[in-house]
Amino acid sequence: MSPALAAAAPGTVKVELRDVGLRYFGREGETEALAGISLGVDAGEFVSIIGQSGCGKSTLLSLVAGIMAPTRGEVLVDGRPVRGPDPRVGYMLQQDYLFEWRTILENTLLGAQIQGLDPQMARDRAVMLLSRYGLAKFMDHLPRQLSGGMRQRVALARTLCTDPDVVLLDEPFSALDSQTRIAIADEIADILRREKKTAILVTHDIAEAIGMADRVIVLSRRPGRVKSTHAIQFASSGASRPSPMQARNAVEFNGYFNRLWQELEVHVEG
């Protein structure tokens, strides 16, 4: 199960959901959050999932991360059913949630410590990641001394420090101001592609979804179902994929945007 090996097999299905459904139970009744979701994400692929708030996007990620279990169907990573949190899957939450009592380096090491990885190797990797993201000078600082964009880069380093194959992103930029948001999205998309991670991004920002992903999946309103899937290709940019920022200027961008906008708009009226 070496990550290098898993990443070296493009085209194989990395994450698969088979007829997944989820119901919440509460005193007021039961809520059907997700229904009949079937989808696959290939190794090394970047998929965005969009939908309106309350459509179960975040729940879907929690299922893949193994911190929730579906009430129907199966979630598979590398063909094996997910039974709980798995070191192969990393999760970036809506905010950085850095621990204010830990230094930047200690925050980066959180996952490695929980998973009991070799401390020296984890430390070397954390230092390497932080240096690569321009945070070498801040390793011994506390989170409150860093700006929002820097904190989000630390959160990425924390996620990647345990070297997961799959990275789940739950609107990880929503707490940032709009300029930082675009810059960080650029950086993170670039990093995840270079490291050949399989990525699933959940967002309600259509431009972000198009800019970062190879494929955009639209979820319907509650209960969330796969409404449509859109392959995102920028033939105008040549062989290499444009960055999210460049993508906004590509000729194809508006076409994708309008199509997805209409897909979402239908639900507002319905």
Binding site: A65, I67, G84, P85, D86, P87, V89, G90, Y91, L93, Q94, Q95, Y97, F99, E100, W101, R102, L110, G111, Q113, I114, Q115, K137, F138, H141, L142, R144, Q145, L146, S147, T162
Partner: protein, 281 residues
């Protein structure tokens, strides 16, 4: 905090502060000095009133003694007599019992609050009992504690009893108040419940721990003094009781003043601890 460049919140180049900035600093300083002066003035006014009200016959000096009488009384009480230890020995006994009381309350509080966090059902069952136990006037148990635990242990017992329930309630509320998303984050890495407690809940509750410490030090001191009223032949509570029985208000007032000084010292110690811990946040 070390100086760091390009860090939000860090100060800019302080080499040549502008006139407006110097004015701002002066105003700040003046405000701080004024507060300190007002505090000192208030204390002085209190002492002056206490000194001169009995002298001019406004109150009976038998009942209040004088501040000026305290120091000679204190010096006189320093020496142990045949049937009475020195006042510092009394104070040491009170401090010792207080420290044991609040340390015990913290220890028991953390363990019980963690157990209540761990087993939510246990909390649901015990919650009303804890609230009532906290609201009960524990002082009502002083005579019973004396019978059950004996002269010395009943003082420790009272210090613990009076401070432990509020500590449990405060800490449990703090544990439950730790950001659920931080716990979720740890869980995405596969953290066990024990790891969540050790790496998220406990370190995340340090401000609550300090707040609880502040509350239960004061309460433990109350418990000790009340316990000493009843049962001891040592401690400032005993000295107060003894002084009032032989109608020597000088002794009572000296012991009370010493208690005030001890409270202030404990407050300063906790404030120093708080500053040290909070520097990490």
């Amino acid at each position: 905090m070390s100086r760091a460049d390009a860090v939000p919140g860090s100060r800019g180049d302080a080499a040549s502060p502008s006139a407006a900035y110097r004015h701002f600093l002066r105003t700040e300083l003046r405000a701080r000095v004024l507060v300190r002066a007002a505090q000192a003035g208030l204390l002085l006014a209190f002492l002056v009133a206490w000194e001169f009200a009995p002298r001019y016959g406004l109150v009976n000096p038998m009942f209040t003694s004088y501040p000026s009488a305290l120091w000679p009384t204190f010096l006189g009480l320093l020496k142990a007599t045949a049937n009475q230890p020195g006042i510092l020995e009394h104070a040491a006994s009170t401090v010792m019992a207080t420290v044991v009381g609040f340390s015990g309350a913290m220890l028991v509080g953390v363990i019980v609050a963690a157990a209540l966090w761990w087993w939510k059902r246990l909390y649901l069952v015990l919650d009303p009992f804890l609230v009532v136990a906290n609201a009960m006037p524990k002082i009502a148990f002083v005579p019973i504690f004396y019978i059950w635990l004996g002269a010395t242990l009943s003082i420790y017992g009272m210090a613990l009893a009076i401070s432990v329930f509020i500590t449990i309630l405060m800490l449990h509320a703090g544990f439950e108040g730790v950001d659920a998303n931080k716990i979720k984050l740890a869980q995405t890495f596969g953290a066990s419940r024990w790891q969540v407690l050790r790496m998220v809940v406990l370190p995340g509750s340090v401000p609550t721990l300090i707040a609880a410490l502040k509350v239960n030090t004061g309460l433990a001191l109350v418990g000790v003094v009340v316990g000493e009223f009843q049962s001891a032949n040592l401690g400032l509570g005993y000295l107060i009781q003894y002084g009032s029985q032989v109608f020597k208000l000088d002794i009572v007032m000296t012991a009370i003043t010493l208690l005030a000084v001890l409270s202030a010292l404990m407050y300063l110690a906790i404030a120093a601890l708080e500053r040290r811990v909070m520097a990490r946040r």
